[in-house]
Amino acid sequence: MQVLGLYNYWVVIVLMMAGLYIMIARYNLIKKMIGLGVFQTSIFYMYITMGKVHGGTAPILEDGIELYSNPLPHVLILTAIVVGVATTAVGLALIVRIFEQYKTIEEDEIKAIEALEHDS
């Protein structure tokens, strides 16, 4: 039962592997960015689930409550989310400009164009 009891970590692992696989296996650049998003989200989940204390409440001081969840991982991950947004924005901006220059966002087609131009 311990394996099922840690279901939150299973979610993290499945998402992480899915994201990594999309990034490696897909040629479409947008799909790569989606993969990156899934991958990063899995890390956010990992941190958030790590900070949760069973039975603990939100870490706001109040009378009669003794057990609080650990707020630190959540705060850390807020920073990581901002970084993730920035990464996605930069990546998408690059894709837009790649599309303007190459007229495609398929990695293999871009490589074919580059090889063609290199030879000539």
């Binding site: 939100a58 706001i60 807020l78 901002v82 901006a93 837009v96």
Partner: protein, 142 residues
């Protein structure tokens, strides 16, 4: 009766006009309660920017650009970072370490209050400007 360019979005346009002030108000609430309650500059900035993005989606990019111009956004973007760093440098001038808010007032608690307020304001301004300009730059591409 004044007619809008795109009549078929009439309902959306009216509702948007009703919603936008409340979105902004909520953003300000999140901004200024960020020191003691849940909230803060980043969330508030995103909510505030979402009001402009909603405006842009419904009324078209051209009209939103008249409301807040890209030049203004560029200045706001820099200004927010400067507010943040200015707070840090001011605390250094008063003899504390970087971003040591305790030196801002006679007692530490008030100092912390002022410091967090200023820093979150800087964050909020920058995030708002960045989010809107992200929307502009992606929406202006066809």
């Amino acid at each position: 009766m004044k007619l809008y360019e795109r009549q078929r979005h009439r309902v959306l346009q009216i509702v948007t006009k009703l919603i936008i002030p409340f979105v902004m108000l909520f953003a300000l609430y999140v901004q200024f309660h960020g020191d003691y309650g849940p909230g803060g500059g980043f969330q508030a900035g995103v909510i505030f920017a979402s009001a402009f993005i909603l405006h842009g989606l419904i009324f078209g990019l051209q009209r939103t650009r008249q409301v807040i111009t890209p030049t203004a956004l560029r200045i706001l973007m820099a200004l927010g970072v400067l507010i943040y760093l200015g707070t840090g440098i001011y605390s250094m001038l008063l003899g504390g370490n970087l971003l040591d808010y305790n030196v801002f007032a006679h007692d530490g608690k008030h100092g912390q209050h002022w410091g967090i307020f200023a820093v979150e304001l800087g964050v909020g301004v920058t995030v708002t400007a960045v989010m809107i300009s992200l929307f502009y730059s992606f929406a202006s591409k066809r």
